[in-house]
């Protein structure tokens, strides 16, 4: 294996490597191109804004889940955490009979975020300190947080929130909805955190080989705890966003969202075994799901078929990824 052997990779080879590395980006572009051709309603500014808005919540959840999956863990509780955070937020965001806010808006936001963080911390403590398998822990907290959401909200949607939040949920600045702006900000921070900081590197190391990471002096269990807290934060944030969007705190919100988030992560090329993956991949993955849902609605494909198609996409993405690694 001398230098000459390596440099034999010519221009064609390089193109191949680039194509493989960014395969899902090409997949998204192709998807958009195809949809633009077969539907004249697809390729418009307003429709792209629609897609961005619809994807923002799943994208943020998926970003949180990516951190967890990169350490080799899993978080099934994000959908329920979203619900319980949304309910907590909506209860504090309520107005009284005269339309006056009961509490300052910031407090409502804090309540939502804090609820997410709390459940994230719970997940993190049990996974990292008590060393219980994350699948089991988050399966448990998934039902616990859903139950708490239902108990607190008495099974009914918590309505009557201050109009500030309604305009946050549906408003925009310069044509870009606030929800999308939040998503972009979160994406940028997440990409930065994972790619440019020690903490990000530690996440990869813990996921790649926890024992080796520990031997290198990395506080592996703290890193693991932290990713669940981040994931809880993201769930809390998206819970607030969801509540603002539909102007109500639904205790049964976010059912199945955990699987959609995990789908985005997997389509984005992150290995469920941990240690391998990219944050931008997850974001692209979320958009593949979002574009597909929107596009198929525009084409009038029934939601039954949409389920079949999204399933195929997930499996195809993993196969593509595996072909890449061979």
């Amino acid at each position: 294996m001398n230098k000459n052997n390596f440099s034999k990779a010519g221009a064609g080879e390089t193109m191949k490597i680039i194509f493989r590395k960014y395969a899902i980006v090409f997949a998204l572009i192709i998807l958009i191109a195809v949809l633009s051709v077969i539907s004249d309603r697809f390729f418009t500014f307003t429709n792209f804004i629609t897609i961005l808005t619809q994807t923002s919540i799943n994208a943020i959840l998926a970003i949180g889940v990516t951190f967890v999956i990169l350490t080799g863990g899993i978080d099934l509780s994000v959908g329920s955490m979203l619900a319980v955070s949304g309910v907590a937020f909506a209860m504090i965001a309520k107005v009284d009979a005269n339309g006056e806010a009961l509490f300052p808006p910031a407090l409502a936001v804090l309540a939502g975020i804090f609820t997410g963080l709390l459940f994230g911390l719970l997940n993190g403590l049990i996974v990292a300190k008590a060393k219980v398998a994350p699948f089991i822990v988050t399966l448990g907290t998934m039902t616990i947080s859903r139950g708490i959401a239902l108990i607190v909200a008495d099974g009914r949607p918590v309505s009557g929130m201050s109009s500030v939040f309604k305009s946050f949920g549906s408003g925009s600045i310069g044509g870009i909805p606030y929800l999308v702006i939040i998503m972009i900000m979160v994406s940028v921070i997440a990409i930065f955190l994972l790619g440019k900081t020690k903490f990000g590197r530690y996440i990869y190391a813990v996921g790649g080989n926890e024992e080796a990471a520990r031997a290198s002096g990395i506080p592996a269990s703290n890193v693991k705890m932290m990713v669940y807290i981040i994931c809880g934060f993201m769930a809390g944030l998206s819970g607030i966003m969801q509540a603002c969007r539909v102007v109500v705190g639904q205790p049964n919100a976010g059912e199945g969202y955990e699987l959609q988030a995990i789908s985005a992560v997997v389509i984005g090329g992150t290995a469920l075994s941990g240690g391998i993956g990219k944050m931008w991949g997850t974001i692209v993955g979320a958009f593949i799901i979002g574009v597909l849902g929107n596009g198929l609605d525009l084409l009038g494909v029934s939601s039954y078929w949409q389920k079949v198609i999204s399933g195929i996409i997930i499996i195809a993405a993993v196969l593509l990824d595996r072909a890449d690694k061979k």
């Binding site: 309603r41 099934l76 616990i144 008495d154 009914r156 539909v246 609605d297 939601s303």
Partner: protein
């Protein structure tokens, strides 16, 4: 996962109600605060009454609810609970989370607890028929409420509203407003559930029979949820715009509100009309402001209330069986004041 969740909810519910039941005689208050936020003074008064009235002492009814996750279902429970409180009957509520198999086993355990009557909102029209068989075998009166059973074997009594009527009311309100001519879309509930099937079929029948010039251009499921309908409507707006769609019928109010929000965000309020079913409290604002054109009131509370009445009559050997219909009522901006006090 859903099952686990449901098990927890049911467990919690049973524990609560059981706890309440035991303490009911000495301390009625906890029952209200823990389980039923909205139970108010009347029921307390009712309980006071029952202390004096000894005839129903120790009587227990069981209520098998298909799920308690929507406002309507909670109204049903509320009506049932209030009537039971009034009569001094202990009520056990079990939630099957839409799982018929689970509902059957819940019925079995109620039978073994020797409840005096069973009220059931079936999780599935066909799969839940064994509940009737088992109650008959155990000689326990069984009353269906809200959801119908299919087949020859029917419960001893049935209280409900004719679901065909609900969709007819909501859709014809839209068609009339459009002058009998236009394009509408329909957002349905979870596919395959009986109310979704009946409302969908009724809509299509009504259009073909009475409004041949109204075209159903698109239909899809919003899974009964607000965000589901909102996303769907956003995509429809992209596809059809203002011209391609004149009205949207949503099979429940949660979805109707989601649709209203999406239309409002796109500046299409009033340009595309919306109707829903259920008349949940939040709909008041939407009807008032004209975001929602029409709504249909299904009297869940009344159904639950009536169901206990029927069951109580059956226990006492009265001839109150058969079907009791609680009618649907169309609610618009004009008459909404009667429904929101």
């Amino acid at each position: 996962m859903k099952k686990l969740l449901a098990a927890m909810v049911v467990g919690a519910t049973v524990a609560m109600f059981a706890g309440c039941g035991q303490k009911a005689e000495e301390t009625p208050a906890p029952a209200e605060t823990t389980a039923q936020e909205t139970v108010e003074a009347p029921s307390e008064a009712a309980q006071e009454e029952t202390k004096e009235e000894e005839t129903t002492e120790g009587m227990t009814f069981g209520y098998l609810i298909c799920n308690e996750r929507t406002a309507f279902m909670l109204d049903l429970i509320q009506g049932t609970q209030d009537k039971c409180d009034e009569l001094g009957i202990k009520l056990i509520v079990n939630d099957s989370d839409m799982d018929p198999a689970k509902q059957i086993s819940q019925a079995e355990s109620m039978i073994s607890q020797q409840v005096d009557a069973i009220i059931v909102t079936a999780a599935d029209a066909e799969a839940c028929v064994p509940i009737i068989e088992k109650c008959n075998a155990a000689n326990i009166p069984v009353v269906g409420v809200c959801n119908t059973f299919s087949g020859d074997l029917q419960p001893d009594g049935f209280v409900g509203s004719n679901d065909n009527q609900s969709a007819e009311l909501a859709v014809s309100a839209l068609c009339e407003a459009l002058g009998g001519e236009g394009k509408i879309g329909m957002i349905s509930g979870v596919a395959g559930q009986s109310s979704e099937v009946i409302r969908g079929e009724a809509t299509k029948r009504l259009l073909s029979e009475k409004y041949p010039d109204v075209e159903l251009v698109v239909e899809d499921t919003g899974s009964w949820t607000r965000d589901g309908a909102m996303t769907l409507t956003e995509n429809w707006i992209q596809k059809y715009g203002e011209e391609g769609l004149d009205a949207i019928f949503c099979q429940n109010d949660e979805m109707a509100i989601g649709t209203c929000n999406a239309l409002e965000n796109a500046g299409l309020t009033g340009k595309i009309l919306v109707s829903g079913i259920d008349l949940i409290p939040e709909s008041k604002e939407y009807l008032e402001s004209g975001k929602m054109y029409a709504d249909v009131f299904q009297d869940g509370y009344g159904q639950g209330f009536k169901a206990v009445e029927v069951a109580f009559g059956l226990v006492n050997g009265e001839d109150v069986g058969g079907e009791t219909w609680i009618p649907f009522e169309l609610v618009t901006k004009e008459n909404m004041a009667d429904y929101f006090e």
